[in-house]
């Protein structure tokens, strides 16, 4: 908000501007109303409630406890740190694994290959499915007795991969869920990269070819640098998508076994609605909000400066 007074001094004709706000208001009002009532207010309410102890039941008292919920979260709630760690792992894996796959697919499908449109659809379709439906599909795949993983392990004679409880084993469940995430997320990023590739001027690559650059060199020195704006968008979208992963975990493990696939978004929900610890649940939500803002706000300033 500190920039607001500065903008005001720049304003040279405030008297002409005033009626324009009045002209804009009828068009803006419904959106502002919905946005404030259902996005801004709940967010502010989350922050407020994180300083209270409350069961969430109507009529139950809300007691102001200051930072006690946060202290409890950071010092006594072992699940919180598991969830925090898993969210960090999830974000890190999301940035490292699906992105190179998406980029490779985009580069391949940017060429004139036979069946290109069909291939694009194949990779993109998982991205339009409900995450909860994807979770169901992959539960079936991981079924330790009749699932696809078991069938493949048997068919290929891989004894070490037989009888594994992919979703029931605390050490691997998170990664098993993550595979489903990759399956779903790759196509969306691929399309973003495809859009970015369209904006790479072909002359650049041709010129590099004339200069004797090999395919790999051209990719590394021409294509990749031109994709930088796209890359930033993909990184930010990937971050936003992965920090709030919820549906997939609910549908595949519910946070188990023994809370080992717990993540911040789900833990916030469960503290509020399952454990009736609204204060603590909202404190988790605030942690989630702070983490998101720490990445997103700098990005917004960066794009705002670029726009000018």
């Amino acid at each position: 908000m500190s920039s607001v007074p500065a903008m005001h001094t720049v304003q040279t004709r405030p008297r002409r501007r005033a009626p324009r706000l009045r002209a804009a208001l009828p068009f803006l009002a419904p959106a502002l109303l919905a946005y404030v009532a259902f996005v801004v207010f709940p967010m502010a309410e989350s922050i407020r409630l994180s300083f209270f102890e409350w069961s969430g039941f109507v009529g139950a008292e809300q007691t102001f406890v200051g930072l006690a919920n946060y202290v409890r979260l950071f010092t006594q709630d072992a699940v919180f740190w598991t969830a925090f760690g898993n969210s960090v792992i999830w974000v890190a894996l999301s940035l490292v694994i699906p992105m190179p796959i998406s980029l490779t697919l985009a580069v391949a499908l940017d060429r004139r290959l036979p069946g290109r449109a069909l291939f694009r659809t194949v990779f993109y379709v998982p991205g339009v499915l409900a995450a909860i439906a994807v979770a169901n599909m992959w539960r079936w795949i991981y079924n330790p007795r009749y699932g696809v993983s078991e069938g493949l392990a048997q068919a290929l004679g891989l004894e070490r991969l037989q009888g594994i409880q992919w979703l029931g084993n605390a050490d691997i469940a998170l990664f098993a869920v993550f595979v489903a995430f990759v399956w779903q997320a790759v196509g969306t990023n691929m399309v973003l990269f495809l859009a970015g590739l369209q904006a790479v001027p072909p002359e650049l690559s041709e010129a590099a070819e004339l200069d004797g650059a090999g395919a790999w060199q051209r990719f590394w020195n021409v294509t990749l640098p031109s994709l930088r704006p796209t890359m930033v968008v993909v990184v930010v979208l990937t971050f936003i998508g992965s920090i709030k992963v919820f549906d997939l975990i609910v549908g595949m493990t519910g946070g188990g076994p023994a809370q080992q696939t717990q993540v911040l978004a789900l833990w916030s929900y469960q503290q509020s609605f399952t454990n009736h610890q609204y204060g603590v649940g909202n404190a988790v939500a605030v942690v989630l909000l702070v983490l998101t803002a720490a990445v997103v706000v700098p990005y917004m300033f960066w794009t705002a400066r670029r726009e000018r």
Binding site: P14, V39, P42, F119, I141, F246, G251, A304
Partner: protein, 268 residues
């Protein structure tokens, strides 16, 4: 050629999960337990689909989802478009600040607001009510749509509305008769994207819809899954049926879909 083979293998890998779900959905219990995963069903068993339809309340929840989508998507788009119009074409004093504040909403995880949203709906008696979904969906759908439409509206030459205003057109006329028709491609794309997002939404629905009668499709899918844990055929049939509407919408409109999804996201 090498590229093609690589892509082909990758595509095969990507189809595999869906393929197995289709095959399983057509097998009866004996086939699933007794035959190899890779074998086709001895006789396609459509009974799984019937069973899923009957016991899962799929038609009812599809009706609920359709009702919510059919109200939310056009209404939300109108609200977003008129806000984007105010920000891009009328441009009042703090329009930049308002745009930034709205855009920030696109980044906020919905889980941050779940508990208070539940309290709002409880207080206004909108739990288990389609309106209890539609209103927050409009709020959370706004940021992205406003952002995209703002970019789109800004590209329309200013001379256009200047001459319209000169001819005595009001802002409302300008919006409905000039700007909105020009934005048809962007609106079509956002319509489809938003339909899919609305149809798939799970988190808010989980909190607001507590009674089975008011469930939308994702809740019904999750409910069926947890209730009939060992009915593999029906579970897979149910999952498949739940994604059919979205698949149809995608396949029919994929041209708009992909263009619209990223029109504003990636600028060269």
């Amino acid at each position: 050629m090498l590229w093609w083979v690589g892509i082909f293998i990758a595509a095969l890998l990507w189809v595999l999960p869906l393929g197995f779900v289709v095959i399983t959905s057509l097998k009866d219990e004996a086939d699933i337990l007794g035959t190899s995963l890779f074998s086709l069903p001895s006789v396609p068993d459509w009974g799984n689909y019937l069973e899923a339809l009957e016991t899962g309340g799929l038609m009812r929840s599809a009706g609920n989802s359709l009702l919510v989508s059919m109200i939310k998507v056009p209404l939300g788009l109108l609200v977003s478009a008129s806000a984007a119009f105010a920000l891009a074409r009328i441009r009042f004093q703090y329009s930049g600040v308002v745009l930034a504040v709205i855009a920030f909403g696109a980044m906020v995880p919905v889980q941050v607001a779940l508990a208070p949203l539940f309290q709002i709906m409880l207080a206004t008696d909108l739990l288990n009510n389609p309106l209890g979904l539609i209103l927050p969906y409009i709020g959370f759908g706004l940021p992205y749509q406003v952002f995209i439409l703002y970019g789109f509206f800004r590209q329309i030459p200013a001379e256009l509305d200047e001459s319209a205003v000169m001819d005595g057109a009001s802002n409302a006329r300008l919006f409905f008769q000039i700007i909105l028709p020009l934005a048809r491609p962007a609106l079509a794309a956002l319509f489809i994207l938003d339909f899919v997002a609305t149809w798939n939404e799970f988190g808010i629905a989980l909190v607001v819809l507590q009674q089975q009668e008011s469930w939308t499709v994702p809740l019904a899918v999750q409910g069926f899954q947890s209730q009939f844990t060992t009915s593999y055929g029906p579970i897979n049939a149910f999952t498949l049926m739940s994604i059919v509407p979205v698949l149809i919408v995608y396949l029919m409109f994929q041209r708009y879909f992909i263009r619209g999804a990223f029109a504003g996201a990636v600028k060269g």
